[in-house]
Symmetry: D3
Subunit: 248 residues, 6 copies
């Protein structure tokens, strides 16, 4: 079910205890020289809409919040963002609308690395007031970690930024928006963890081109494969969490 396509009457008839309400969140920010700024939003929305189709009666899908916490991309330009603390507040507010309307299972499905911290903290801020609701958050790549790794060729086996995975996914989903002439090896980026220490550098400092990994290894076929595995796995996991006992 899609929240925005339902009338108030239809929404009123949805089970508050059993339904999993999904809030997809992403970002619109620079994605290296070859990908459109809306990459995260497009991938996340495509994934979650496919998942919704397979779980129709069990989930209610909200429209994707395209805005992300992207301050660490600002020095590259072409980035829309929100202060991190205000992004937490924004997520809290949207979830509160649902929780005050009685929904007991809320899942934030994320498609942008920079949102992980704020989305988890938003849930912690909410949990104090809604302890008997199941508040959840995941990035599609944390759910489909193994599936993604099995397809990737470069050294980095997970989803980075404008990387082999994202580029492949976009070549599959929106090939006309990918500038294939600019696909390069971007494997020189610096991780934000070093010897167990979090180094808080922005993407201008961590990458030479605003992208990571191996976009040059990307292909539409790989994108199709990734997409199909991600959708399957997210579907499976949503089925699992949708029947978790509610917390007390």
């Amino acid at each position: 079910m899609k929240y925005a396509e339902m009338t108030a009457i239809e929404l009123k008839n949805v089970s508050r205890e059993e339904t999993l309400v999904i809030l997809p969140i992403a970002a619109v920010e620079q994605h290296g020289p070859h990908l459109p700024t809306g990459t995260d939003e497009m991938i996340c929305t495509a994934v979650v809409e496919n998942v919704e189709e397979r779980l129709k009666e069990k989930v209610v899908l909200l429209p994707t919040l395209w805005l992300g916490a992207s301050q660490h991309h600002l020095r590259w330009g072409a980035t829309l963002t929100c202060r991190v603390e205000n992004y937490e507040t924004l997520l809290c507010e949207i979830c509160e609308s649902l929780l005050n309307d009685g929904f007991r299972r809320v899942m934030i499905l994320n498609g942008h690395g920079g949102n992980i911290g704020p989305m988890q903290i938003a849930l912690r801020r909410l949990q104090v007031d809604f302890p008997t609701c199941q508040l959840m958050a995941a990035s599609y790549w944390s759910i489909a970690e193994d599936e993604i790794a099995s397809v990737m060729e470069g050294n980095c086996k997970t989803v980075g930024h404008a990387c082999e995975a994202e580029t492949s996914l976009m070549m599959h989903l929106r090939p006309e928006l990918v500038d294939e002439s600019l696909l390069k090896n971007c494997d020189d980026y610096k991780l934000d963890m070093l010897e167990g220490v979090y180094l808080c550098n922005d993407m201008f400092q961590r990458t030479s081109q605003g992208a990571t990994g191996r976009p040059d290894l990307a292909s539409a076929q790989k994108g199709a494969e990734l997409f199909s595995r991600i959708v399957s796995r997210v579907t499976e996991v949503f089925q699992t969490v949708q029947i978790l006992p509610l917390p007390k």
Copy 2:
């Protein structure tokens, strides 16, 4: 041009002085018994995407912020919202991303009545720091006031909430989402202005069904007519404001 479909390189090449950047904002909230909660988002996006097509090289269109300031609908349920003051902040933050990136002409195009106050105040908050930028905001119905009035049959000649106009527009744009069996005369709603006084009542107090005006007079044909006139007029006006001299 669509912001989310452009790469950072493409965006860097856009003229900061001349381009009109458009941020469409809407709402996802109860829309009476017959319209989907996403009505405002769907209409606003359809209008603005059609306008963008006609003004391609002159505007950069952001994706629609579907979240609106909708606290006055909360008692009807089926409403996603944000505190009014936080909504102002959210609009400020998105616009700041653009203004700090050098854009000088920003237009918020609105599709939800409850956003008018916060969007104007957001611009006032920004204007102090960006006095030499042209900060603008409009609802599609304030721009196309006469065009809309000329099509409407009910007493109310402007766009209300889940009214003759919105229902017609949705019957034109997304007929499958309109529950035509529930179209009724909703002309019993109470205005928020009485003898020059603003009466701050919520939609639960002002309407008997969460809708206003004459949805029963709506038709797909009327919707097509409205849509075409709105798009033409908004296009015209955007052409006008896009060449206004920048403020000093």
Copy 3:
């Protein structure tokens, strides 16, 4: 009744259901070359005190909050202000004091254009927590629109800033504070609405002298006429809203 002149015991005996509590708000800000900065405060207070005299047992009048949301005048200097968002909070707090004390009918009577947005939003912020109270706001000129228009000679038939109306009112109320040698035609100001679009410019950009309309057409006699009509009309309208059924 005047709140500040009553003891706690007297205030305790006032009917919470029936009494209309009035909070007058204004501004102290530059008013062109010819009017004192306190113009809005002086006019608003004079109006509301005269209204109170005629409705003695039905209203409780608070002292005038002279501070307004006047950031758009800052570049002219001689302006006291508050950030717009903090002004909303301030109005909320004062009204909350009243609402928590049991009063059910609160009217903000405004004398400064820049306060219209924030005062309406303040009421929206409050309405969520006090849905069964009648929260109201008006500018004296929105109530007495026709009465004012009938007296004005210039093209602009409503109250602007340091304009024909305000200058006349001050020549009537505090003639010694008006510098008549500097009364000029200020009809070159730019409106903030153009073709249905809100252009967020400040008063430094919209006026050449910090004033609008036709101060040169002002006269004490016109001021007396305006004042008398405004007071009568506001009195009438307050009588009407004071007996409105309370919302549920």
Copy 4:
């Protein structure tokens, strides 16, 4: 000079280095059974207007901010207030308007005990950004401590709340607003300091009648004497601080 009575041109000609700008602050709150809620505002305004008359060319007097930090009176009812932290912000904003306009000497003159903490903290918040301005705050009774003590008959020799001093001052300034039939000995109130410890109790806990000291010893004559001594002393002290070297 009175800020609100001056035009922008007149204010522009005032010396930023030498002029002392005075912001009077007070409260509108319950004042026991016998005094009007506006007591603090009326006394403070009367004092400061008399001082201004004696120092005309040396000071610029703002209108009195009648709102105070009065949460500790709320349980008595008949009290208008603002959260303490927001009151600090409000004072900061008004002073910032002045400091950004170039004024270098700002004095908050206070007439309500509950404002002492917030007004000092407001100045501390401002001092970080305006270190070369002389930011000052005083209650009229801290300046005229000895003068007041010399007139008082009760044990308490300073200004309390609705006490011998305030009642006398009101009997002098606005006798028609004092309910003399209710003047009682209120000397049972509990101080907020005990053995060097601040006990944070509200006025409902500290007083049995919402008043302190010996209103029963009050007289109009004593009020006249107090008023004259306070005005003289405040005038003297303002002359002193007005020529203090500015900080670096």
Copy 5:
């Protein structure tokens, strides 16, 4: 009892009505040329730990919050601080943890002058929500005023900043951290009260060396004497307030 050394079970068994919970607060900030930045923290902790030893079963002592409101020292460098308004919030939060856990008697024991305002305001902010709890705050020198005065030799008979008293106390408590070669007469500092007026200057403006009073008169022996008298007096006073009737 020491909060941090107790298990949750032990804490659960402590009487909520009778126990005095003590939150010591201090500062880490420049302390002139001769004292370590942690001076306030070290003295305050030493005092309060000695007091706790004498009142073991009657009090629960929290660890010292070393952070203080020290913005007025920033221009001297070597200072850790928090905005004043955020310091208030921080104190509120810690106290709320205790009050929500049922404790009814909370005492903030302070060791830094700059904290007096914020700690009192923090309690005022809390008192509105916890009116039946006894919220208290004191600086060790306000409690032991006479005891301290009787030992001091310089003109200033109370505790200033890096003064005769603090230097003596540190020579007693942590002699190895005092640079005795730099002890000088610092009696040139300017008070923040002049003729009853609060002059908001920072320590860079008020002192020539970041210190006050007569560090040159300090001695370890005097420190021992001061320490012993302070501890005795604070112990006595805590015994008194621990049995005060709780407010209603």
Copy 6:
């Protein structure tokens, strides 16, 4: 070097470019039936003070901020905390004091799981304003992950809450504070990640006794071993990051 033990003069002489400034943060919160609430603070402080001793001239150690983000323990009682968003602000403020004083390398060393999110977000909030400083954060267990794992016997090989590791460390550091009679197998706790999904449950929901892992396998000897390995590893890693090139 220890910040709190140094004078302002000594601190002024420390190299801003090369010195690593360390802010240890922890928590005071319920730690199951057997450990004191100050466990995190005691362990973290012991670790970091030992590290400081080995790196004396290269680091400046601040005192430990004992307060943590512990709202998820509140339902167990015996917990001091701060709202998560305010905890972020608090960390920002302390770090800003250092960064504005010129220090270029700041490391938050954490000893409480609940602080990981907020500390990383605090650095992200700061990085926008201090891009050329190296802002770092780590938990002692993320640095010494392998060393800790090699000592642990239970299934969980990392530091949980009141677990085998923390209990052993406390039996080594402060044996008198451990209630050994209550050491139990607490391996029934629920992780906050399930199939790649973050489940936001509090500790009341995730543990049956407020503790995790195998406290029953703890021993002082294991604690000594853990402590020594942790200190060595943290020392090594701090040496590494202390010479990282500063970001641009």
